[in-house]
């Protein structure tokens, strides 16, 4: 669960107390309305009780009835639905939800911590700000309306930096330990080694082959652990997954593409590498002249697409996972101040716990898939089609 969620819950608490204060009048309204509704039904001549019950069981029909009634009588809106609608407008507001899973200039903290941050646009948030390292007020490239390169240090950048430093410290330590030639002792050492050996023996070696393994293994390992680190960082409340941003996964996929094309050209030469993209076919010359350029274009396009998809797959998985988590918790806010709160809040909490567990699994799975596909692409570039 995220701190975002915590913040949402905090807001819920505030609203809940408001709602409690206003409860008697709510209930009065409910009663009034119920009376009114019954009358309405009578007026319309719905004597058939079976039919009446049936229409009540359908929420949509129910609310339509009410709306018609409100429109007809010009009364105040139904309080429970009104509350829900107001909550929904606030908590399920897309910019608001997206803010929880996208890059930002601050790290959100629960409201009760009392931390306040005013962002560059002058909006106030509860959290602490990421320092504007370069001190930029104007975009470095582009206009304030259409900025291209803003120069602003952000949350995801800070997370990437932290993950990179952590990775360096951890694997430098592991390298020294392994180099010492001593027996591997301790949970951390063994766990890290198990992962490194898994990536080497189960991911990289089958795809790339023994001959070229040593050249590409450092890249595969770096990709895997960097993606894993960023994914797992998203599970820390308040931070968010940098891999849930298309810029990050796009650049990672670009690195894979560069390694694939670069190593392929280095191995076969530029012309040979382009030729290798077309599978060898036993065709009559006339047909060959027609088909080979066509297949070449398709293969090149396919190569670009598979790297693009590599980026999108990781980004979409992390982004969607965290958005779903945010929506789960937002439901608590939506139901705040209504009787539904007591049914929805526990379910939402349990649901978001279960979903968080799933997200931890997804963090490992997506890192594995990214490293696995990168290995496959690199491996296939080492051999002719």
């Amino acid at each position: 669960m995220n701190f975002d969620d915590q913040a949402v819950k905090d807001e819920v608490k505030v609203e809940q107390t408001d709602a409690d204060a206003a409860k008697p009048s709510h209930e009065d309204h409910d009663h009034d309305h119920a009376d009114h509704k019954d009358h309405g039904h009578d007026d319309h001549g719905h004597d058939d009780h079976d039919h009446d019950d049936h229409s009540h069981s359908h929420d949509e029909a129910h609310s339509h009835d009410e709306h018609d009634a409100h429109a007809a009588t010009g009364e105040k809106p139904d309080t429970m639905n009104g509350q829900l609608q107001a909550n929904m407008n606030h908590y399920l507001d897309m910019p608001h939800l997206m803010a929880h899973v996208q890059d930002a200039t601050y790290i959100e903290t629960p409201k009760f911590l009392g931390l306040k941050h005013t962002d560059d646009q002058g909006h106030e948030h509860s959290g602490f700000g990421i320092p504007n390292v370069l001190g930029v007020t104007q975009p470095l490239i582009g206009t304030p309306e259409k900025p291209f390169l803003t120069g602003r240090f952000t949350k995801f950048m800070a997370i990437e930096l932290v993950v990179a430093i952590l990775m360096f410290v951890i694997f430098y330590w592991l390298g020294q330990k392994i180099k010492s030639g001593k027996k591997p002792k301790g949970k951390i050492w063994n766990a890290l080694e198990a992962m490194v050996v898994f990536i080497r023996d189960e991911v990289a070696r089958p795809a790339i082959g023994n001959k070229d393994l040593d050249r590409f293994l450092p890249f595969i390992l770096t990709v895997f652990f960097f993606v894993l680190g960023l994914n797992l960082f998203g599970m820390i409340p308040g931070f968010g997954s940098a891999t849930g941003s298309s810029a990050v996964t796009g650049v990672l996929a670009l690195f894979v593409f560069a390694v694939v094309v670069g190593s392929g050209i280095k191995k076969m030469g530029f012309v040979q590498f382009l030729k290798a993209q077309v599978p060898t076919m036993d065709l009559p010359p006339a047909l060959r002249a027609l088909l080979v350029p066509l297949i070449f274009v398709i293969e090149i396009f396919g190569m670009l697409v598979k790297h693009f998809v590599l980026a999108v797959r990781l980004f979409a998985n992390m982004f969607a996972g965290h958005l779903v988590l945010a929506i789960f918790v937002a439901f608590i806010g939506v139901c705040a101040g209504t009787a539904l709160y007591f049914a929805v809040a526990p379910i939402a909490v349990l649901g978001s716990i279960a979903f968080s567990a799933l997200e931890v699994f997804v963090a490992f799975l997506q890192a594995y898939i990214f490293a696995f596909l990168a290995s496959l692409f690199i491996g296939s570039a080492q051999h002719a089609h």
Binding site: M88, L149, V251
Partner: protein
């Protein structure tokens, strides 16, 4: 109605600038390029290299140790076989020694018994001979003494000493007398 509002806000959001999830931030992309590139370089030099080399040398070491363990086991098996053969040989030898000792002992026993028997026989024969000799000596002595006695008696009876010629004459007569009744 509420769901409809929500999904329409989703649709509207997807073409808005800052909250468009497909919006690629050049800042973040550039930063990722720098961070990942730097990480790739630094880890490759200071982490993956010692890790890969360390793992390889450890694996090589394990493989070597397994090979030498195999060899040592082979050696041990060969030694075991050798010792077992030796042991079996020693067993046979011991049995042969025992058998030989047994035959030797039997032979010695038989020899000793034979010798003892021989000795016993000899002793008996000697004893018998001694007895015979003693007997004949006694008989001779008896004969002599009985002649003397007879002579003594006879002289007593005759009352005179007999001369040698008398003796011889008497003996001749006596012998004739002895042998006459028998004749």
């Amino acid at each position: 109605m509420n769901i409809l509002t929500f999904s329409s806000s989703l649709l509207l959001a997807s073409d808005g600038g800052a909250i468009n999830p497909l919006y690629v931030s050049a800042d973040l992309a550039l930063w990722t390029l720098i961070i990942f590139g730097g990480l790739l370089f630094l880890l490759g030099k200071f982490a993956w290299k010692p890790i890969m080399e360390g793992l390889n040398s450890r694996e090589q070491g394990i493989a070597d140790k397994m090979d030498s363990a195999d060899k040592a086991e082979e050696q041990a098996q060969a030694n075991l076989k050798k010792y077992e053969e030796k042991l079996a040989g020693a067993h046979d030898e011991a049995a042969a020694v025992m058998a030989e000792a047994k035959t030797d002992a039997t032979a010695a026993k038989e020899k000793i018994i034979a010798e003892a028997n021989e000795e016993a026989t000899r002793t008996r024969q000697r004893a018998l001979a001694d007895v015979e000799a003693a007997k004949s000596a006694a008989v001779r002595e008896l004969a002599e003494s009985s002649v003397d006695t007879a002579v003594g008696l006879a002289s007593n009876i005759v009352g005179r000493s007999l001369t040698k010629d008398d003796h011889a004459k008497l003996i001749k007569e006596s012998v004739e007398r002895f042998s006459a009744p028998g004749a």
